[in-house]
């Protein structure tokens, strides 16, 4: 395969996976609202597009399999087949299986026997939905001939049947009344019709000559002829419409799809100036209508009132309008999906660009370098004290900041897509466990860095599965406990001081503290008699090898899980904690940084070294009061009546030398806990490009990374969560102020 084909195939694989995801979401949506026509259309479109693209690459096994599914979906779409839970599940299987087929294509493997066997098995089950009798059309269906080769899987009679009210002609019917100036504008209706002939066959053409005036009064440059034609084509409505694009403005073009509803023809008669009977005869000659259908159309037309419109004015107009509506809807329905598909792709291409993630990363890197270089320039400018230079560098700095922000938003994606994947997980797991669980999603529009999104999928899955398996009780237990039968799991995301908080809550049994404690004692994690706070007890379940499940299911309970979750989250510079009320439910809370690359920092100094604290986590800065200067170690001070534990950076990092006379306290906050950092100097805001520390330093606590200052010096980025934990854990935090402390 050539490189170009290879690229195209990659696109097919990516697109197919996206389409399958859409399909899955729509299927799950259909379970909630079985009548959602848009969802059915979305599923159909997905299958149709996959089939089409796979056909381009001669992926016959994919095409054959998808075709059966598409046929079933076509029936659902035409309301010849109702959605049922069984069909929904089957279609989800189709979705999964297609995913496997596409994976196979991606791996460059021909489908093995097991896979093809499964294809056949699912196809066979799909076939049962196709065997219900349907109106059989004698004529070929030109609306679905994009499946030209005789496939061994018999396509169902795919003619869309609009009840009894459809015509039997398998041809498009086109009515054209050219505007008078068409010829003068340089357009020849005949050449447009000839153009139609390039992608279909004009089966019959009837010219309406009645309007041509006698030679003596004819304006030879005006158009007088009307056209009625039946047209056999395999293309969609959009391309037929396209042929008339240039003349649409002042001409009347009516398109009735194959097997179109008689109502369309009725409306045509009503709208066209010609005598209905005369026009009707033409349509019969065209082959678009049979005599019988004409009679049917004219009969109802007659009932609508005299076609001149002179008689009873008000009701007639109304009826005509209704008829108009009737026209538009089925017309649109018939070719809508194809048209929309074309338009959706076109629109999608117009507003979205696929960009290689590596290119984005490179851009972010460059922006990072730009920030460092900009800071350097600013430093020089300040030192030189040239006012113009200082001013221009500060303008530059502001622009760089904007560039940074927009570059970072490029990487931001909404978490909704990740959340939506859990609909399927919840559905399947709930079915497997025989539980009835409703998934509630909130804050899906919350954005976070793509790399973070990619990495939280697995930990989230662990947590969700745990909640489903151990959290939410079986229905009978729930009822016995006076809870609603249906369990509820909610996924919630929101922003909070520079991080994103993701909560997974269930309304299940909650964690049983004494069981956890008992188990922890058994495993020697805690000594007997040790008094632990609730938080500490809950924290135990994140220890390696800890599981309280009495029963090991194939979902969870093997004790590998929560510790892995914690490790993964910590690796993302995030934290995980847990709240639980026994009998009422559990909430697992993940806090993650919004981005991994660049932050707004606050530059501080201790000794000769500089440090950066993420600005979002800085609450305020105060001067350290003289009376609160204890000799060594961490202590606490009185911040407007509250205890604020603090730590000296000099002590923490063992910086030699005397502290200056005036020391400052930076109050930082993380996850609701506050702590003070005592530093020598405050330098102010500083854009910080995070450079990760090497593996050698991975065991160092309290440091999250490093950055390069404008001067070329290295500054360490403080890991506030780690610091806060260290400071607050040293002493039991009590919110009440000891009497020995005097207010600041």
């Amino acid at each position: 395969m050539s490189a170009q084909m290879d690229d195209a195939l990659q696109t097919l694989i990516i697109e197919s996976r996206e389409l399958l995801q859409n399909m899955e979401e729509a299927l799950l949506l259909l379970e909630q609202t079985p009548d959602d026509a848009e969802a059915v259309n979305a599923i159909f479109r997905a299958a149709h597009t996959i089939k089409g693209s796979a056909g381009l690459f001669s992926l016959d096994h994919v095409v054959a399999f998808t075709h059966v599914a598409e046929s079933v979906l076509d029936r659902v779409r035409d309301h010849r087949l109702g959605m049922s839970p069984a069909l929904g599940s089957l279609l989800l299987e189709v979705c999964d299986h297609l995913g496997q087929l596409i994976d196979g294509v991606a791996a460059g493997q021909a489908p093995d026997d097991a896979l093809s066997g499964r294809s056949d098995a699912i196809a066979a089950r799909l076939q049962t939905y196709l065997e219900t009798p349907s109106a059989v059309q004698a004529e070929p269906d030109f609306s679905d001939v994009d499946w030209p080769d005789g496939n061994d899987i018999a396509p169902p009679s795919a003619a869309p049947v609009h009840g009894n009210d459809s015509v039997t002609s398998g041809m498009w019917h086109i009515s054209l009344r050219s505007g008078p100036n068409l010829l003068r504008d340089g357009m020849d209706p005949l050449s447009i019709l000839r153009y139609l002939g390039t992608f279909g066959q004009i089966v019959n053409l009837e010219l309406i000559l009645g309007d041509i005036p006698p030679l003596s009064v004819i304006d030879p440059e005006s158009c007088y002829i009307g056209y009625e034609l039946s047209f056999a084509s395999e293309t969609d409505q959009a391309s037929i419409d396209g042929a008339f694009d240039f003349i649409r403005e002042d001409s009347v073009v009516r398109l009735i799809p194959p097997y179109g509803p008689i109502a369309d023809y009725r409306a045509l008669f009503a709208d066209m100036p010609e005598d209905s009977l005369l026009l009707g005869r033409m349509l019969v000659r065209c082959g678009s209508l049979t005599e019988e259908e004409l009679a049917q159309a004219l009969e109802t037309q007659g009932r609508m009132g005299p076609d001149s419109g002179g008689g009873s004015p008000a009701p007639l107009l109304g009826e005509v309008l209704v008829a108009q509506q009737l026209v538009d809807k089925p017309l649109v329905d018939a070719a809508l999906e194809r048209q929309q598909q074309v338009k959706a792709t076109a629109a999608g291409e117009a507003t979205l660009i696929r960009v290689d993630a590596a290119k984005l990363d490179q851009l972010i890197n460059l922006v990072g370098e730009l920030i460092i270089a900009g800071a350097g320039a600013q430093l020089v400018a300040r030192r030189l004290k040239v006012p113009d230079l200082v001013e221009s560098t500060s303008v530059l700095a502001r622009l760089v900041e904007d560039v940074r922000d927009s570059a970072l938003t490029l990487r931001m994606v909404q978490i909704g897509a990740t959340f939506n994947r859990f609909r399927r997980v919840v559905r399947d797991v709930a079915a497997e466990l025989g539980k009835d669980i409703h998934l509630d999603i909130q804050g899906g529009e919350t954005e976070l860095d793509k790399t973070v999104v990619e990495k939280i999928g697995d930990p989230l899955t662990h947590i969700v599965r745990n909640a489903l398996d151990h959290g939410i009780e079986p229905a009978d237990v729930r009822l016995a406990r006076g809870k609603p039968r249906q369990g509820r799991l909610s996924l919630n995301a929101h922003h909070e001081s520079g991080s994103i908080v993701i909560e997974v809550s269930d309304d299940g049994g909650g964690l049983r503290k004494e069981r956890i404690l008992q188990k922890a004692v058994e495993r020697g994690l805690v000594s007997e008699g040790q008094v632990l706070s609730d938080k500490e007890i809950f924290g135990l379940i994140f220890e390696p090898g800890f599981s309280t499940a009495t029963q090991v299911s194939n979902l969870s309970g093997r004790g590998v899980g929560m510790d892995v979750v914690k490790r993964n989250i910590l690796a993302l510079r995030g934290t995980v904690d847990l709240d639980s009320v026994e009998g009422q439910g559990t909430t697992v809370r993940l806090r993650l940084p919004l981005t991994l690359a660049i932050i707004d920092g606050f530059l501080i100094g201790a000794g000769n070294a500089s440090y950066v604290v993420p600005l979002e986590q800085v609450l305020e800065c105060i001067e350290l009061p003289d009376e609160d200067k204890p000799e060594q170690g961490a202590s606490y001070l009185n911040l407007r009546g509250e205890v604020l534990p603090f730590v000296r950076l000099r002590d923490l990092f063992d910086i030699p030398g005397e502290a200056p006379r005036r020391e400052n306290v930076v109050v930082v906050q993380y996850a609701g806990e506050r702590a003070g950092l005592v530093v020598d100097q405050l330098f102010g805001e500083f854009q910080t490009v995070i450079k990760p520390l090497g593996k050698v330093f991975s065991h160092i606590r309290c440091i999250g990374g490093s950055t390069i200052l404008g001067s070329g010096e290295v500054a360490l980025i403080l890991d506030v969560p780690g610091l806060v934990r260290q400071v607050t854990e040293r002493q039991p935090v009590s919110r009440h102020l000891p009497s020995t402390l005097s207010p600041v």
């Binding site: 010829l183 340089g186 209706p189 053409l205 006698p214 030679l215 003596s216 002829i225």
Partner: protein
């Protein structure tokens, strides 16, 4: 444009050659009107028509109808391939069947 009109006794003959399109329709209409103003049958020689569009077609149809209304015969003496093709495409050969030469 290149045409010569002949008026035999009781018969007007118009030779149309070159384009019979929107660009020349007005001239041909005038020529045809002249022919119609004289009494008797009308004969058209279309063997030299190189192109014909909707304007040309409707001119022919108009002439055909006017002749029929006045109970005068219209004969298309010889027809270029291009005209035959256009009339066939428009399904108008039947409409002109009594005017077209027998072999067409």
């Amino acid at each position: 444009m290149n045409a010569s009109d002949q008026c035999k006794l009781g018969t007007s003959r118009v030779v149309i050659a070159g384009e019979m399109t929107i660009y020349t329709a007005r001239d041909w209409r005038d020529r045809l009107l002249v022919a119609m103003s004289a009494p008797g049958d009308v004969e058209l020689d279309l063997s030299g028509v190189s192109d014909i569009d909707a304007a040309g077609i409707q001119l022919l149809v108009s002439l055909r109808m006017e002749a029929a209304a006045a109970d005068r015969a219209l004969r298309l003496l010889s027809v270029s391939a291009r005209v035959t093709e256009a009339l066939t495409f428009c399904r108008l050969t039947e409409f002109f069947s009594d005017a077209l030469p027998a072999q067409a």
